[in-house]
């Protein structure tokens, strides 16, 4: 299964180019044109990524994240969610690399087949880095007013967070 997925990417690349040739497209110059557009996207993307990454790092180092975890704890306990996965729930909307290392730590400490390990795995598999996606997609085209994107994105994360605990209980216990 893991092996199979590594074939997908090269095959897709080949298929796109073969289809282009089949439709008599100048694939090489076409590719260069597209890649140039990519360079323009980069110019608008980098500043917004810098803004987000600095803010997330500051939250982490200053102990702000610990404070948020402390705030969430009573609510999570009331819902039967184990304390051990709260750090993952808090970091996962903010930082992809951060949540990966928290996830690895949880598995190393409690084991992948423990209740905690399974809840963490489901959480990890069913959420994306919400703030990163927002910064990247809006940053790339220069949108300033993101309206209710953050609320809806975090709401989706919240559902995933609550549900992972319930579903693992139903399935494995």
């Amino acid at each position: 299964m893991l092996n199979f997925s590594s074939y997908i990417l090269p095959i897709i690349v080949a298929l796109v180019i073969i289809y282009g040739l089949f439709k008599k497209i100048e694939v090489f110059s076409c590719f260069i044109n597209g890649a140039k557009k990519g360079l323009n996207i980069f110019k608008t993307l980098m500043p917004s990524l810098t803004a987000l990454i600095v803010a997330v790092t500051m939250l982490d180092i200053s102990g702000g994240l610990d404070f948020i975890k402390w705030l969430i704890k009573p609510f999570a306990s009331a819902l039967g969610i184990p304390d051990e996965v709260i750090p993952l729930a808090v970091i996962s909307p903010l930082s992809g690399s951060g949540s990966l290392s928290v996830f690895e730590n949880i598995l190393a400490k409690y084991g992948a087949d423990s209740f905690i390990g399974r809840v963490a795995s489901v959480m990890m598999g069913s959420t994306e880095t919400t703030f990163y996606a927002i910064a990247v997609y809006y940053g790339a085209i220069g949108i300033k007013k993101t309206r209710h994107t953050v609320i809806a994105g975090l709401f989706a994360d919240f559902i995933g967070f609550i549900l992972s605990n319930i579903m693992v209980r139903l399935f494995f216990c």
């Binding site: 282009g20 076409c30 810098t50 987000l52 803010a55 200053s62 598999g125 609320i151 992972s164 399935f171």
Partner: protein, 191 residues
């Protein structure tokens, strides 16, 4: 995003004052700014590559073919883009890459979709309804096979790394639907 970003920074500084770790924080600010450039540079190659490939897919009409395949799903999520075959095609490419777990490809393809949507957006500084729904869709994971999670489970000595797969799929689907529903309701209420 304006107030959230400002809030994150001010809250951090206040926390640092309470925890008396302003030294670490100062170092962290500079290090993370550097780190951000590194991450952006790492993304740059992928963005250029996929933008190039996307250009071929657009010119050859491949995006419209894939757009047609996913059209039944797309017209439910993006009814306002019903007639915009080019944009729906780009969105479909992003969804396909996400489903296949090609995160590095999905991002540049999604940026391309955003760029096309921006072309039809009357207010260039304000996100359109379609953009909000699209970004919300991308903040939820819609991967068919969560390979990264499975790989880490495997590495930590798990014999059945995929046993959580049905729950992950169900969870992603429910949280994605929830996020989109909330977004659509807010779109209706607050114009």
């Amino acid at each position: 995003m304006n107030y959230i970003w400002a809030g994150m920074i001010i809250f951090s500084v206040v926390c640092a004052l309470f925890n008396a770790n302003a030294n670490e924080l100062s170092a962290g600010i500079l290090n993370s700014a550097q780190h951000a450039v590194e991450i952006s540079l790492k993304l740059l190659g992928g963005i250029c590559f996929w933008s190039g490939l996307m250009e071929i897919a657009q010119k050859s009409g491949l995006t419209r073919v894939i757009g047609k395949l996913l059209f039944p799903l797309m017209k439910i999520i993006f009814p306002e883009l019903r007639e915009e075959k080019e944009i729906l095609g780009a969105i479909s490419m992003n969804v396909t890459a996400n489903l296949l777990g090609l995160g590095n490809a999905a991002t540049p393809l999604g940026i391309e979709a955003m760029r096309l949507m921006q072309g039809k957006n009357p207010d260039k500084a304000r996100a359109s309804d379609a953009m909000v729904n699209f970004v919300v869709m991308n903040t939820a994971a819609i991967e068919l096979v969560p390979t990264t999670v499975a790989l880490i489970r495997l590495n930590s000595g798990c014999l059945t790394p995929f046993d959580i797969l049905p729950i992950v799929l169900f969870n992603s689907l429910v949280s994605l639907t929830g996020g989109l529903l909330l977004s659509k309701i807010i779109c209706r209420v607050v114009k």
